[in-house]
Amino acid sequence: MCDDIAEQQAEITRMLLRHVQAPLADGVVIRGILPAPPPTRAVRVVLGADASSYTPDDFVVHEIPLGPEDELLTPWDVRDLLRALVRGTHHYSDDSVSRVMGMTMFQMDPSAVKPAPPEIDDNTMSILQVTGHPFTEEWPTPRLRGFLFLSRERLRLYLDQTDQPGVTAADVRASGAVTALLAALSSLVNGGAQRTVDPDDPHCDRLVDLTHW
């Protein structure tokens, strides 16, 4: 496990959550952030044309390499690169296009992209975020490494924890008993729920279905 990459995937996930509802640009929102499996040192961001899209056909995935250990892309770097992708016209080689989980995925070379400049709202959000939810180096357990909207009712969480290798995916239902689910989440992903494997999802080592909670 590349600990530096895992931590940066988690950092990118938590800092870009607001773009699930707030468009990056031109209505385009984030519909998922996938922890690229090792040894790939990247994050995969799933974009939707609007916040009502839920199916793989409606999504495009951009795999963004995070770079060397001492120069990892920050969440803001990722945001600015994504915004540049939304606004411009871009050329991709044929072999940088593939499929993952039924979605079309494009591999980006960040060194060849001119990032979009930060916007005033980004700074506004930073002020609010830091004052309202101060930064801490402590991570919750389990830690959120990514997520993906699978349907209107089903949200997949990608979670990890220090005493268990790899990534556990947990499918949850937003219309369920959210308070109970969140309280029991750590216990459930740590052996308290039946584990299966999703062979179509390369981003997790095991899967627990918590949609009935």
Binding site: D26, V28, L47, A49, V60, H62, L82, A84, L85, V86, R87, G88, T89, H90, H91, Y92, S93, D94, D95, S96, V97, T104, F106, Q107, M108, D109, A112, V113, K114
Partner: protein, 159 residues
């Protein structure tokens, strides 16, 4: 009667000879078609091949595909050639690439067809000794005309 017939035959023969001579001197198939071999764009493929796009005419090259298929920027052709190893059959090469708009919510696949020899396969065009014909045509897959937005090079990025 015999003299009349003979003179008529002589006249017919002379007329035929004239027609044949005229035909030989004016048949287009015998002449090289008019084209402009000057290089408009140039790209280097992953295999090191330097592939020119010549102005050409309405049948091939820049003049052909910029009008017929609405590809109006060199970058689009050059990136497609430079970005992939392409498919090769003899000296016939095909390169494929993608153009993304709106982060990929609009996208088209580009195809560039190259003849990497001095002459075209139909022998009608000749780039000259040591030269290559280069790009015959370029187009967007599954459409006759590319959408206008593919020619938007402002803030282009290349991946």
């Amino acid at each position: 009667m015999y003299r009349v017939t003979r003179s008529v035959l002589t006249a017919i023969a002379a007329l035929c000879a004239t027609i044949i001579l005229l035909a030989i001197s004016t048949t287009p198939a015998q002449a090289d078609p008019s084209w402009n071999p000057r290089v408009k764009c140039s790209a280097t493929g992953r295999d090191g091949r330097v592939v020119p796009t010549r102005f050409g005419n309405s049948e091939l090259g820049w003049i052909h595909f910029s009008g017929e298929h609405n590809i109006k920027v060199c970058e689009l052709v050059n990136f497609t050639i430079a970005g992939t190893s392409g498919k090769q059959v003899g000296n016939h090469l095909e390169y494929y690439g993608w153009v993304l708009g709106s982060a990929g919510f609009r996208r088209v696949q580009t195809v560039v067809v190259v003849q990497y020899t001095q002459r075209t396969t139909d022998r009608r065009y000749n780039a000259g000794p040591g030269q290559r014909i280069g790009v015959i045509t370029a187009f967007c897959k599954n459409m006759n005309k590319c959408p206008n937005w593919v020619n938007n090079t402002k803030d282009d990025i290349y991946v």
